[in-house]
Structure formats: structure tokens, C-alpha cells
């Protein structure tokens, strides 16, 4: 886990530095946007990998007719809403 956290931190820092490049007003805004965009893209592309490359796992039933793939897909909705609602709250707060 610490290894992944470290890689993630470095990736975020790299993107932040590359995009930011000294524009003062972009500072907090960029960091906020990146801290939502990167994890969301990881979760989203994770589903693409599951559906494209791990079909057997995706088709494994968990309970009743609910399979791993379907559960992931259905969870994408609350996860997405959670991301966007939290982002909007923080963004609105940032604006005052």
C-alpha cells in the first residue's frame, strides 16, 4: 500500500508541476481538480480492464444473479455521484 501511495503521490506531483508551471491563481484549483480526476480515472479505467481483460472474474457470481462485473458497474453510480458532489461542495467553499 505505501508503494502505491508513493507512486500516486509522485504522479500527482508530476502532473501538478507540469500543468501549474507558476501561475499563482491555478495553485489550489489545479490541486483540487487533480485530486479528484486521477482517482476517478483509475476507478473508471479499472472497470474497462475488468470488462476487457478479466471476463472470468467479472462473471463470477457473488450472491444470487449479482456478478462481480455487474456490482462494479452499479457501484460506479454512487461512486461518481460521491465524487462530483464532494467536488462541488469543496469548489463552492473555495469560492466562498
Amino acid at each position: 500500500m505505501p508503494i502505491y501511495a508513493n507512486i500516486y503521490e509522485k504522479l500527482e506531483y508530476f502532473l501538478y508541476e507540469w500543468i501549474y508551471e507558476g501561475v499563482e491563481a491555478m495553485n489550489r484549483e489545479t490541486k483540487l481538480v487533480l485530486s479528484f480526476t486521477i482517482p476517478y480515472l483509475i476507478i473508471y479505467m479499472g472497470m474497462a480492464v475488468l470488462f476487457g481483460g478479466m471476463k472470468k472474474l467479472a462473471g463470477t457470481p457473488i450472491v444470487g444473479g449479482l456478478t462481480v462485473g455487474l456490482l462494479y458497474a452499479l457501484l460506479m453510480f454512487p461512486i461518481t455521484w460521491g465524487f462530483v458532489v464532494t467536488y462541488v461542495i469543496l469548489r463552492n467553499k473555495m469560492e466562498g
Partner: protein
């Protein structure tokens, strides 16, 4: 399938749409009203307008229809189309509102002042994306209205085209936005009612999923069945009832599974198998493409403040998410209860029925002619709203970017611009109607994939760098847009020509895996080789709180 109630409800949608357009027409007093609804539309209304702008007939009928035919693999479609909105919210919506005026090209010209070549290229991309998106909608409109209401195909295409042209001519984006709010409510409520009816019939969402596991996807099952084996289990759609259809479907599915125990079920992948590269390319194209669609981006100009663009996008994400959840459950429920009917249609060669009719037949089965009529009205509203948004995007771009800015160099009067915009709306409508009539019967749904690919590879990449990267240059913007556009078009043409590879690169279902990195690379390399980074205050102005 003809139903008087369905016809009445479809006509009601058309009449109310025209009424709203007429109401808006009387309030169009300036070019800002026509291009940006006077920037006075409340965010709540924009949330609903964006909802119906985005949810075309492909979403209303195609998402549930696709799942009911192919099972879990097609759940990917609504997830991808939904997730694309997160990037719209995070990196585009409010920032577009902060710097843009009427079209996507305005954003680039706000940073790179007087960059006519960027405006021209953005206009070309807007027209290509809108046209490629619009023609399949027109073909879909003709086919669907023929299926749903027995209208002759050409009549259906002309009626849909004429209604939208009149709406756009009367009030531009103002009348389009307000009529889309109404259309959104119709299609959203229609899907909600079909969903609720299935919940009641099955006894809850878990029962839908559990029963779906007892049934293979019809598109897979048809490989193991003949039409003679299926026919005795096919219900008559004029007298169809839920209990009878479900009983027959489960019996047929049981026979198939007994003979082929390893056959996949509705809630398992494999019905519409994509390999990892195709899946990744599709995922990338959809999530990036949504934020590059001009008919979505220009709606952010209609709200008073950037914060309203943010809130409107949030509202759209909630609406679209709920709509797709309803559609996923309707898809699994229809694939289960109508398993034998859909399998029979596929074996009879009626693939358009199998793909497009499950939602409407579900309406008839669960709520009689009234719910079927509402489903037909929902499909009609979805077609009108998406064609409206696309037509307004193309009209604004040609009238404002090409005529007012490139040809007249910003010296056209407001009256002149309004007149030209209305004439261009007719021309754009004529192209859409002509395309729909000429290409009847062609499977051009792939053009929508192209539209997403081009939007992702031209506008999305260029917008991200314009709005967020200080080192980005005018030449870099031109290079990223042009390279993305060319690579996307080349790979889609290769796909249409059924080529399996281009040199060492396999041709994928979506060009995004090649065209997006190519666009970014071109933008970055050319930016480092050139120096015109545009207005030095642009990013500060854009990002100041």
C-alpha cells in the same frame, strides 16, 4: 404495433415543443439571445436541458435494448457515457463559461487573439462532429417512427427535421434549451415508469437480477436455437402479458441451459466481447469525447455565472445517472421477460426490432397502450432534443465563426447575423434531412463513435491544454487539433473499410487510443518548439477565484 394513444402523445410532444419555441421566439431580441439565451438560463433548467441534449434515442431505446440483447457487456455503454460527465465538470464546464462567448472557437481565440486559423479549424471540427452525430439520429428517427407509428420513413425524417429547424430558427439556443427541458422530463419520466413497472412485476431489483441469471443473452442463445424451436415460446405482442411472457422465456432458457450448461447468463460478460485494447480505447474515447462535444460545451454559455455552469453539470450528472440506472434494470428485466421474443426476432432477421423495441414492448406488456405510448413519446422527445442541440451547435459555429468573424471580420450587424443564422439553420437542417433520406438503411451508427473520437482527439485535448497549460502555444493548439482530427478520421475510415490493421497498429472499435496521445504529443512537441503562448493574463483570469 400502431397505437392511437402513442400517436396522440407523440403529436402532443411535437405541439408543446413548437409552442415553447414560439414563446421563446418572441423573446429573442439580440444575437446574444439567439446564440446564448441571453446568458440568463437558471442552472436547474440547464441541468435538464443538458440531460435531454445528451440522451438521444440511442440512450432511450438503445441502452436497455443493447443490454436486453447482449447482457452485461453492454452495461459498459451507459457507464462510459455517464462517466464522461465527470471530466466535463472537473476540467471544462465553469472554465468554458468563464472565457467563452458563443462557440468553442471563442475559448481558443480568447487566449490566442486573432487566431483565424484556430477559429476556422474549430468550426470545421464542430460541423464534422455535429453532422456525423446528427445523420444517425435522423436515420434513427425515420426507422423508429416507422416501427413505432407506421409512419413512412421519408415522412418521419422530414417531420423530425422540420420541427427542429423551426425550433432553432425561431429562437436559436434559447428556444432549444426551453423545449429540451420539457423533452427531458418526458423521456426521464417515461423510463422511470417502465422501470417502476418492472420493479412491481418482478418484486424488486434483486429479483430482476436473480431472474436475469437464469437466462442467457438472446444474442448468444440464438446460436443454439432455430426459429422453429423458439416460435412456440414467442408471445403475441398485441396481447402480451408479463406473466405469460416471463413463463415462456424461463422455460425456453431452461431448455437452452440444460443442453448447453456452460452458456453465459445475462449478468455475465461475453455476449458482446471486446478485448482489452478495444475496451480501453472505447473507454478513453467516451470519457474524453463527452467534454469535447460542441453541443454540450456551448450550453455553458447560457447561464449567468461560472458557478451556474458547475451546478448545471452536477444536476445533469444526477439526472443522467438515474436515467441510466433505470435503463440498466429495464434492460436486464426486458432481456429476461422478453427472452424468447427477442431471440425469435433475432432468428427472424429482425435485428432492428430486437435492439430498439424492448422498451416499447415492455411498456405495452406492463402498462398497456398508455405506457407504450409514453415510451414512444419518450423516444420521440429524445430524438428531437439531441438533433436540436446538434443543429444549434453547427448553426452557431457556421454563422458566428465563419460568417460573422472570418468572412465579415466582426463587422456584421446584429440583424444581419440573426438573419444569416436563421438561413444557416435551414441549410444545416436540409443537410441533416438529406443525409437521413439518402443514407436510409445504412448502418451509420458508427458515425457517432467517430463523433466521440474526433471530439476527444481535437476539442478535448486542445481544450485541456488551452485551459490548463501555461506553455501551450498557438501553433501547438493548431497542431493538436489537426493531428487529433486527422488520426481519428483515418482510423475510423480504416474501420469502415473493414481493415484489420494500419501498418503495425490494429484498427480498433474507437480511434481514441491512438488519436488522443497523438493529439497531446503534437500539442506538446509543437508548443516546445514555438513561443506564442497567447494572452499572458489568460490563465490568471481563468483561474482566479
Amino acid at each position: 404495433m400502431f397505437s392511437v394513444i402513442a400517436l396522440i402523445l407523440v403529436i402532443a410532444v411535437a405541439v408543446i415543443t413548437m409552442g415553447i419555441a414560439w414563446w421563446s421566439y418572441r423573446r429573442v431580441r439580440s444575437i446574444s439571445d439567439f446564440y446564448a439565451a441571453g446568458r440568463q438560463v437558471p442552472w436547474l433548467l440547464i441541468a435538464w436541458a443538458l440531460t435531454s441534449n445528451y440522451l438521444s434515442a440511442a440512450s432511450f431505446l438503445g441502452v436497455a435494448g443493447g443490454i436486453s440483447n447482449f447482457g452485461l457487456d453492454r452495461v459498459w455503454d451507459p457507464i462510459g457515457y455517464f462517466a464522461g460527465w465527470v471530466l466535463v465538470l472537473l476540467v471544462a464546464a465553469e472554465f468554458v463559461r468563464k472565457v467563452g462567448k458563443f462557440t468553442v472557437a471563442d475559448i481558443l481565440n480568447e487566449r490566442f487573439k486573432g487566431a483565424t486559423e484556430l477559429r476556422a479549424l474549430a468550426m470545421i471540427a464542430t460541423v464534422i462532429i455535429s453532422t456525423f452525430y446528427m445523420i444517425p439520429q435522423m436515420i434513427g428517427a425515420g426507422s423508429l417512427m416507422s416501427l413505432l407509428l407506421n409512419w413512412p420513413y421519408p415522412i418521419a425524417v422530414v417531420i423530425v427535421g422540420a420541427i427542429v429547424v423551426l425550433v432553432v430558427m425561431m429562437g436559436g439556443i434559447r428556444s432549444t434549451v426551453y423545449s429540451q427541458v420539457f423533452q427531458a422530463l418526458v423521456l426521464w419520466v417515461a423510463m422511470l415508469l417502465v422501470f417502476l413497472a418492472y420493479l412491481a412485476a418482478f418484486g424488486g431489483p434483486s429479483s430482476i437480477i436473480d431472474n436475469a441469471y437464469k437466462v442467457p443473452p438472446p444474442a448468444v442463445a440464438k446460436k443454439y436455437l432455430s426459429i422453429d424451436q423458439v416460435k412456440p415460446y414467442m408471445p403475441d405482442i398485441n396481447t402480451i402479458s408479463f406473466n405469460d411472457a416471463l413463463k415462456k422465456s424461463l422455460e425456453l432458457a431452461k431448455r437452452v441451459i440444460e443442453k448447453h450448461p456452460n452458456i453465459i447468463r445475462m449478468t455475465q460478460p461475453g455476449g458482446f466481447a471486446r478485448d482489452i485494447w478495444n475496451q480501453l480505447s472505447l473507454a478513453l474515447g467516451i470519457i474524453m469525447g463527452t467534454m469535447g462535444l460542441p453541443h454540450i460545451l456551448i450550453y455553458f454559455y447560457t447561464v449567468p455565472r461560472p458557478k451556474d455552469a458547475r451546478m448545471g453539470t452536477l444536476g445533469a450528472i444526477l439526472n443522467i445517472g438515474f436515467f441510466y440506472i433505470f435503463s440498466i434494470f429495464v434492460g436486464f428485466a426486458a432481456g429476461t421477460a422478453l427472452f424468447s421474443l427477442i431471440t425469435g426476432w433475432l432468428l427472424e432477421g429482425k435485428a432492428p426490432w430486437a435492439k430498439n423495441m424492448p422498451v416499447v414492448v415492455s411498456g405495452k406488456m406492463l402498462g398497456g397502450e398508455m405506457l407504450m405510448g409514453l415510451a414512444a413519446a419518450g423516444a420521440f422527445a429524445a430524438i428531437l432534443s439531441t438533433v436540436g442541440g446538434l443543429m444549434v451547435a453547427a448553426t452557431n459555429s457556421v454563422a458566428y465563426d465563419l460568417y460573422a468573424n472570418i468572412i465579415k471580420k466582426g463587422r456584421a450587424s446584429e440583424e444581419e447575423q440573426l438573419l444569416v443564422a436563421r438561413i444557416i439553420a435551414i441549410l444545416v437542417g436540409a443537410i441533416a434531412i438529406g443525409g437521413g433520406l439518402v443514407l436510409k438503411g445504412f448502418d451509420v451508427s458508427y458515425l457517432v463513435v467517430l463523433a466521440f473520437g474526433i471530439a476527444a482527439s481535437s476539442f478535448a485535448t486542445t481544450l485541456i491544454m488551452t485551459l490548463w497549460w501555461k506553455r501551450f502555444t498557438r501553433a501547438g493548439a493548431f497542431a493538436s487539433m489537426l493531428v487529433g482530427l486527422v488520426v481519428a478520421v483515418v482510423f475510423v475510415l480504416a474501420r469502415l473499410a473493414k481493415m484489420s490493421s494500419l501498418g503495425p497498429l490494429p484498427v480498433l472499435v474507437q480511434p481514441a487510443l491512438y488519436s488522443i496521445p497523438a493529439s497531446f504529443a503534437a500539442g506538446i512537441i509543437v508548443s516546445y518548439l514555438t513561443s506564442d503562448t497567447g494572452d499572458p493574463e489568460f490563465l490568471k483570469r481563468l483561474h482566479e477565484e
